[in-house]
Symmetry: C2
């Protein structure tokens, strides 16, 4: 096997985050990012489909983890229970990623184009959950709906958890679920 390229990729991600932090998304050119990473602009676009993607690496792995956890949930669990089970199972992963997630969130909060990409990633995640539910035998339309609701809950709970880390994610998830029940009278 020839050289791996994973190093360059990592440096590109790092450079991207740093420059976006310092100058913002708009004021940063892909040429700049590449230069800081010690590669050519062309190489940037070989590793990432576009300027935004460098900020969202690893989302696919997260999606796979979640989907696997849904599929692996005990057979007798109802759709929503299986989702919650999966959400709780990735808590350690989220906990571990927190140091990287937080600065990234700040960058994203300042730019609509990046926010749009977050929505897109969330949507893909939702599709992943839906597919996983279908593998459990959940009917298609119901699976999509449940995944949608589940993602809303996960997002709600995660943001509450980021704001208030004294409770763990599982507790926030339970709280969100309670709130949902109150809402859907």
């Amino acid at each position: 096997m020839p050289r791996s390229g994973k190093e360059a990729r990592r440096r590109l991600q790092q450079a991207t985050l740093e420059l976006f932090q310092q100058q913002g998304y708009d004021a940063t050119t892909t040429a700049e990012i590449a230069e800081r990473a010690g590669v050519t602009e062309r190489t940037f676009f070989r590793h990432f489909a576009d300027k935004r993607e460098a900020l969202f690496d690893g989302e696919e792995a997260f999606r796979d983890s979640l989907a696997e956890a849904v599929v692996a949930a005990p057979q007798d669990m109802l759709p929503m229970e299986a989702l919650f089970h999966a959400f709780r199972s990735v808590e350690p992963l989220l906990q571990r990623n927190r140091p990287f997630t937080e600065p990234r969130q700040k960058v994203i909060a300042k730019n609509p184009a990046l926010q749009e990409r977050v929505l897109s990633k969330t949507a893909k995640l939702t599709v992943g959950l839906s597919d996983a539910l279908r593998q459990r035998g959940v009917e298609e339309s119901m699976a999509g709906f449940a995944a949608q609701i589940g993602m809303a809950i996960l997002a709600h709970a995660t943001s509450a958890w980021l704001a208030d880390p004294t409770m763990d994610l599982s507790a926030h998830l339970a709280k969100s679920h309670t709130e949902l029940r109150q809402l859907s009278i």
Copy 2:
């Protein structure tokens, strides 16, 4: 008052939809759109922030309608009831727009960039609903959550309605609501 420009804007929207239908989003240049509309490329970008936006005009008006309907809902309605009330109130508008919505949906279905923009519009709509709920005195975090759930229901019901027009939107909304209750055990 000088010339209005609304005509050019309308022609640009029309040209955009037609060209996207015929050649797809990627294969269509903004210069082409402008030419077909009888204006300059520069004028295109005066009317629309980017190439995608020309497909999504009117979304802001729809958002305002929905938000107003939420605010205007009877005071004694719970958050979710107010949302459903608003959803039902825009059914005529959706019905009227259907001839334009359907071809647009087909175009969007073929392109990830356009799908991303839909998500962004949906998110804005959700924020609009959330703000409207807050005007009714709903607590912030709860309002955001309810809006999210509400949008999931509206999306679910609308897509079911597009697939099966024999039932009206209200009926699909009620059905979706029932399904949600079944899910959130």
